[in-house]
Symmetry: D2
Subunit: 117 residues, 4 copies
């Protein structure tokens, strides 16, 4: 038992895939296509909805939303694993870059954060 | 120190966001929009490429790909956290459902796995 | 001169592609990948924005938005053409189906239109 | 009768929407979200498939693919119309830009066309 739940999940995903002999389909392009498709299915939960509608939908459909989040997360976790990328280390490195790009003093509360500060 | 690297990352993401007062932008619809946008940026790495081109691109651009994977992962992790969803538990639940839906005996090596078995 | 501006555009797109010998990259999967990527670039214009922010952005960036709309439209037009699909006829057929699916009496003003009427 | 089939379609789309009082949902952000969702449904037709699988799928599912293309096209046409953008003129302008960016002499047959020529 590693105590690292994400690493245990990586191993379960590998096993699930290999039992089905699916590695041959799971090249980086196909996995990225599937991540984009699942991301759109997640987004579909909020299609046409305003703030109030989003919150009502979340209350009534939390499990379905969790399933869509999980679909994106599983393909993403597998893609990182297949490319030899440590997912947590990649997030740490990107968070460092974002901290440089969006210093607190300039970014605080700014809606156009991803345009031009 | 929890030994749980993903949970530590959740806490870093919360801190990063709150220092910048960005929670007001991070409702589930906006986060899902951002997940879809970042998923497309990841996919863009493989646009127009055949198998050989994908592999060559991976070799030369691993860090940029890791950054795009991290962008999707961070928004996804935050969305799960904001909705009170344990990301690993959601993945475990979905993997169980997938195991029911795609039993090894029927799914093994089948390309049309997500059409109709 | 056909008087049909979309058909003239189809012919210009074909010529542009063939002068560059790009047909070999433009199979239906690659074109669909590119449509999804360009759709995300269009969506990026509205990332994080509320209603007021969207309208202000539209006023200041109409030409850039028009470019992103055009990118999606060109790949979509080419994909239809490559598949022998008349784009306008396909829209007419889908509009008929939608009229059946969303009769005015039930769909009028309903926000959840694409959930369950 | 204008002889312009796309313009006639614009008018049919407006009528369809207004009979249902749906303009209030069809702001540019929501339409762009829907374009991205429909683009992913189109892409889903080609998920996991290799070249041969794509072609076989096209032969058996042309009408369903035409429906997905039409869904993207209708939202895109409406978005352009709502923003006062002439869709064909936008495509012409973008094709001009692309001709500058990808001159035949440099772009001919190059797979990495959208990376760096």
């Amino acid at each position: 038992m590693s105590g690292d739940r994400l690493q245990e999940m990586v191993e379960r995903i590998r096993k699930f895939r290999d039992e089905r002999d699916w590695m041959k389909f799971h090249d980086p392009k196909n996995l990225s296509v599937s991540i984009a498709i699942e991301a759109a299915e997640l987004l579909e939960h909020f299609q046409w909805k305003d703030d109030k509608g989003v919150m009502e939908h979340v209350d009534r459909h939390r499990d379905e939303i969790a399933d869509e989040i999980a679909d994106v997360a599983m393909y993403l976790t597998e893609l990182a694993d297949n490319l030899g990328i440590d997912l947590i280390a990649a997030m740490e490195a990107k968070l460092e870059k974002n901290a440089q790009k969006y210093p607190v003093a300039k970014a605080k509360g700014v809606a156009t954060k991803y345009d031009k500060l």
